[in-house]
């Protein structure tokens, strides 16, 4: 059996509407191997080992300005370590990869 890097990810509250959709689209663009699972009231978006959210990509997908720290309004949960979160990006990762 081949061992894959464990997933990191976020559970996003679907009340966020187009913002959450844009975040998911941006995550899919900026990361490899992204998986999205739909649990109606929230969506789980995950990637093996490392997940990057970039403000610029979210803004492109959304078609308007967006601030990185407003992510916390919709990030109901996450798994992995948040190693970097500033005005431009957020990185969640496991260290053993």
């Amino acid at each position: 059996m081949e061992t894959k890097a464990a997933y990191v990810g976020m559970d996003l509250d679907t009340s966020g509407g187009d913002v959450v959709e844009a975040i998911i689209e941006a995550v899919e663009r900026d990361n490899e191997g992204v998986v999205v699972e739909d649990f109606t009231v929230y969506k789980k978006v995950k990637a093996p080992g490392k997940l990057l959210v970039r403000r610029e990509t979210v803004e492109e997908c959304l078609g308007r300005e967006w601030e990185m720290d407003s992510l916390q309004l919709f990030m109901s949960s996450y798994f992995g370590f948040i190693s970097d979160w500033d005005e431009d990006q957020l990185i969640i990762h496991w260290e053993n990869v």
Binding site: V8, D13, S15, F39, T40, V41, F81
Partner: protein, 504 residues
Amino acid sequence: MAARMGLKQKYHAMTRDLMWDSQEFDMKRVYPLIEKEGIILKDPSRWEDPFRMAYNQYVKVQAEKDLLYHAVRNAFEANEGHAKVVDARWYEGVKAFAIAVQPAEYQAHRLMAYIGRNIPIEAIRFATINQCLDELRHAQIEIKHYAHMSKKIDGLHAYAQTNENLWFNTVTKSFFEDALSAGPFEALVAIAFSFEYVFTNILFLPFATSAAAVGDDNFVAVGKSVQSDESRHMALGMSALKMLLEEDDRNVPIIQRWLDKWYWRAYRIFSVVATLIDYYPRIRPISWKRAFKTYVEDQVFEGLFKDFRKYGIRLPLHAEDSIKEKEHYSHAVMRILNHAKHVNAFRGFRLHPDDYEWLSSEYPDTFERYYAPFFRRMDDHVLAVATPGIPAICTVCQIPLEFPDPDNPTRFWTQYSEYNNKTYMTCSPGCKHIFEQEPHKYAQIWWPAEAYVSGEFGENLPDDLFKYFGFAPEEANEYYSSRDYERWLQYRKQLGLDQIFTGR
């Protein structure tokens, strides 16, 4: 300030730089507990909270969350939402939540205040202040939710009293009293890590999904509002744990001991959540078994604990037991709740054909074989399975001693320990281990229900017992034969809702 500060600078200016060292007093007297647990700290001030929340921003965001919740609740009531849920037995589960979870929120706020007061590390202190206020907010919106529910539903009319005195509530109480009477670092690992990081996801995410599936938008809003703070709480747990592990190697065995204890302790308190996922909702989007696999096995054991290996940390001692138990957990606990439903504020209930079908297909190896026969005994006679009196409980988790051994499911898992010439019973090897680490602590157990039965509070049983609990015998028992169900059907009729959900 002319130039606009970035997030990092803003956070430093408004939170971290507010700490100071006392000149007048010996710091050891200001923080008397800081060295008591053997934790060694070298330069903890370099630790940061990834959320970098400033207080003004915190207040603004939280106020918005509260307003949003109350708007949803008003709309739900105006639209007769209670009449329209798929099956109102769901509310018996919400009552279980009321009795198990709301006191946990309240106690967690006390605990956060205790941790913040006693650990002088800026990032941790600021995060605990925020969390302390969060937990109080959760406790309050939940109480508000029950106040509204009690207009239509039995069992919550004397909420404060029921919360204080119901035998079932000692499960939550003992957990938090255990943490509050531990040192501040242990308390931090107990709550911020084991409770918040490992388990709260299972509580709010699948349960809120179930709420949406059965049509309780009011609870969806409660769940989401509470859960919206959880990422911050999880971040505190993660950063604190990593900080303690990296500050000094000598911390590692201490942390391992706490992880062993608090993993199992938190896991047991979430046992009732297994029934909230698998039993109370008539429509279930996910099973306990699958939720446990996702949130605990994949995200925590396979993810986080692999990262911790480099510090010499292994999986919690009884992790394997909880993995084995996932096939049995909700069924065993629902059986316990049905045994004791005549003395509980949330009712048990008869299963419908669609319930049997779903449970059998989700749990093909265990449900039909070990549990369905028990539930079928209630098909004709709802009290067929009631156990007279009040059940005997585990000395540690305080749940009735009726957990089956997952390796031998027809036998109970009950364990025995000797301490000071007395025998103490625990529900499982996990609780037995916890008892034997600190027997002097758990031997002090005083169980109000037992005290009551032995005549400590009165003679006239069971009437006085119900008075003490704060609800009437008619508010207990089986749901589909209850006055609540009858009222719900009437309520629906008035609105012209005659169709009843049959699962097809």
